[in-house]
């Protein structure tokens, strides 16, 4: 692994950590969080997350687990962000300023800009003329989940939708989707 890739990987890992850390920050506001001059927030554990990481976490993590931006290409995020009034049958409307800010953040962190193997795999599985709005409809995702019988998700009241990454991947918020960690609610460990 090259040095730069390692650094990018670490950065990404830290920004994915923001989910868990955010809770820590909120719980201890006043002494747990400090601001660094760069506008980044330093938590007690010394991990730096930016204001925009936290904004994404807050705005796009209120109804579901905040999907890592490297799961989709820039054009997908752009299309998704321009249709928030009807977001998969719900309204996820934002103020124009926040919408613009998050669209920029998503584009900057999209699959094209990631060195993560899974992001590359995802990109390769999307046709050049396609603009998927769902991670779960990509070839990459389907390939990884095609062995899963419908009984364990669609007919499982504790899962229902494959978009609920964190239902089965306990460390999804940390950006970890290792197949040996998978635990399906009501079914248990999934090792094949």
């Amino acid at each position: 692994m090259s040095r730069i890739r390692k650094i990018l990987g670490t950065l990404l890992f830290f920004s994915c950590l923001s989910g868990t850390l955010l809770l820590g920050v909120q719980a201890t506001t006043g002494n747990g969080a400090e601001k660094s001059p760069a506008g980044a927030k330093t938590t007690l554990k010394g991990v730096i997350v930016t204001e925009e990481d936290l904004l994404y976490e807050k705005e796009c993590g209120s109804c579901h687990f905040p999907y890592q931006p490297w799961w989709l290409p820039e054009r997908s995020w752009e299309k998704l962000m321009s249709g928030l009034q009807n977001h998969f049958g719900e309204s996820a409307e934002l103020t124009p300023a926040t919408q613009q800010q998050l669209t920029g953040w998503l584009r900057n962190h999209a699959a094209e800009h990631s060195t993560i193997g899974r992001a590359r795999g995802m990109l390769r599985s999307i046709k050049a003329d396609a603009t998927p709005l769902r991670i779960t409809e990509s070839g990459y995702f389907r390939r990884k989940h095609h062995e899963l019988p419908r009984q364990v998700w669609q007919e499982n009241p504790a899962v229902r939708s494959l978009a609920r990454c964190d239902a089965c991947h306990p460390r999804a918020e940390l950006g970890s989707f290792n197949e040996h960690e998978v635990k399906i609610p009501g079914v248990g460990r999934w090792d094949d």
Binding site: Q26, T29, K35, P37, G39, K41, E51, S62, C63, H64, F65, G89, E90, S91, A92, E93, L94, T95, A158, V159, R160, S161, A163, R164, A167
Partner: protein, 135 residues
Amino acid sequence: MKQLPTLAAGVLLTFAAATAIGGTVVEALLAGYRGAGASAFDATRGKALYNGTFPGEKPSEVRQCTTCHGVDPNKPGLHPRTGKTIAPLSPGANPARLQNPDEVEKWFQRNCTWTLGRPCTPQEKGDFLTYLQGL
């Protein structure tokens, strides 16, 4: 302090203001609704809105505030499609609630549109907040 980005400073200030003077966020919202034509607020009507049923897209589908927030606003709810837990809506059970006017309006806009098929009126919003405050 001058090095802080405005956004961060703004967030801190909002937070500080909200914690220091608790209920006034709701007071200010209510005053705004009155200014927009609402009359006296009534917690009973707010409760009726919370428990009201509205038609969904399919004939079999019923939409309610309780669909996501659960029957008891003092207890956590659950988003039925995404499975995410939603912290209790009542400020009594969850002091983080109703602390930021922009957040309150953002969620009213989204949730009334989804549930009722239209935005809530200032009267409905005021009744609803009065109901939550009294829990």
